[in-house]
Amino acid sequence: MSAIQLGQSGVGYCGSAEDLGALRAQFERQHYLKLPKLIEPVLADVLQTKVRQGEFYERVHEEIGPNRELCMANNGASAALLFLVNDKKLFQIIQAVTQCDQIGCFQGRVYRVNPGHGHHDSWHNDIGEHRLVGMSIDLSGQTYSGGMLQIRDHASGEIVREVTNLGLGDAVIFRLSQRLQHRITDVEGTASKTAFAGWFRRQPDFLSLLRREMKPGREAPVMNSSSVVLRLANNTTHDTAY
């Protein structure tokens, strides 16, 4: 088991306070941190299978240079991923490592970049909308060429870091700052890159996000209770701005 791992019942962390301090120093120095096997491998396989069954649509962001990619429509896979990463203990670890403000939620989307299809990312910083720290989790399950996270100094244009993240379920978290910009380099060769990417945000809190994204289904009157079944709002478009 790696130091931090997301599984069926949430986050497992087997490191010490000193380990956390070392991760903090690493993030401070590099502006990013790799979290190998952040998603437990068996679960990552299940999620990757669900993502493969997803529908993708082309998405263009003129504000980012432009940015062109395939984005997965809202479905069970995206719901599962959001549910998995929106974890209070994970938030506490990310806050401790990055020294960011209190995290309310993680919001993201699954995207795919195919080589030779004009999919492209441009330099941007993702600042705004209560975003605190970026994170990308690999769901490709294959080795692709390119698709590297680059971080540069905004003022000088100097590329300060280049990060590959090729393992299924592996994550990279990276700093969002007015002084830095980042992009994903073009994917080359024949294999596509697929990732779940987004940001830890100050707000909204995850429960509000969950209630907004899901709609109540039928009631299950058990244990004097308010136990309810919430169904995916399948007919709503999950359109995460970034």
């Binding site: 069926q8 019942s9 949430g10 299940v46 669900k50 479905n75 069970g76 719901a79 599962a80 549910f83 998995l84 974890d87 995850f206 429960l207 969950l210 899901m214 289904g217 299950a220 058990v222 244990m223 004097n224 209770s225 308010s226 136990s227 309810v228 079944v229 919430l230 169904r231 995916l232």
Partner: protein, 102 residues
């Protein structure tokens, strides 16, 4: 006084051995527990009492142990509580959230 009631002696029908389905993700959110079934893509929200039931189930307790433990934690009529746990377990089973070991 509800503490230390021997529920096992009250129930003549053997209780099923249940455990959470490995395809169900779950987490505590305040007093509630939210479950997500990876095959049906359904979310479930369990209130505080049901959440405690789930927590004990995940910890490896059998239904008799859960009843015994929860009767020490909640002030509730044992017969009513037994009925509620049966209803909850039936619901969780029907929704494939738990697996019953025969």
């Amino acid at each position: 006084m509800l503490a230390n009631m021997d529920l096992k002696s009250k129930n003549t029908t053997p209780l099923p051995a249940a455990r959470p389905n490995s395809n169900v993700l779950f987490k505590r959110l305040g007093d509630e527990t939210v479950l997500f079934h990876l095959e049906t893509d359904r979310f479930y929200e369990l209130n505080g009492t049901a959440a405690r039931f789930w927590e004990l189930l995940h910890a490896g307790c059998d239904v008799a142990e859960i009843r015994e433990q929860m009767l020490q934690e909640f002030e509730v009529d044992p017969d009513q509580f037994a009925g509620e746990t049966d209803t909850l377990l039936a619901f969780l089973t029907k929704e494939d959230l738990v697996v019953i070991d025969e």
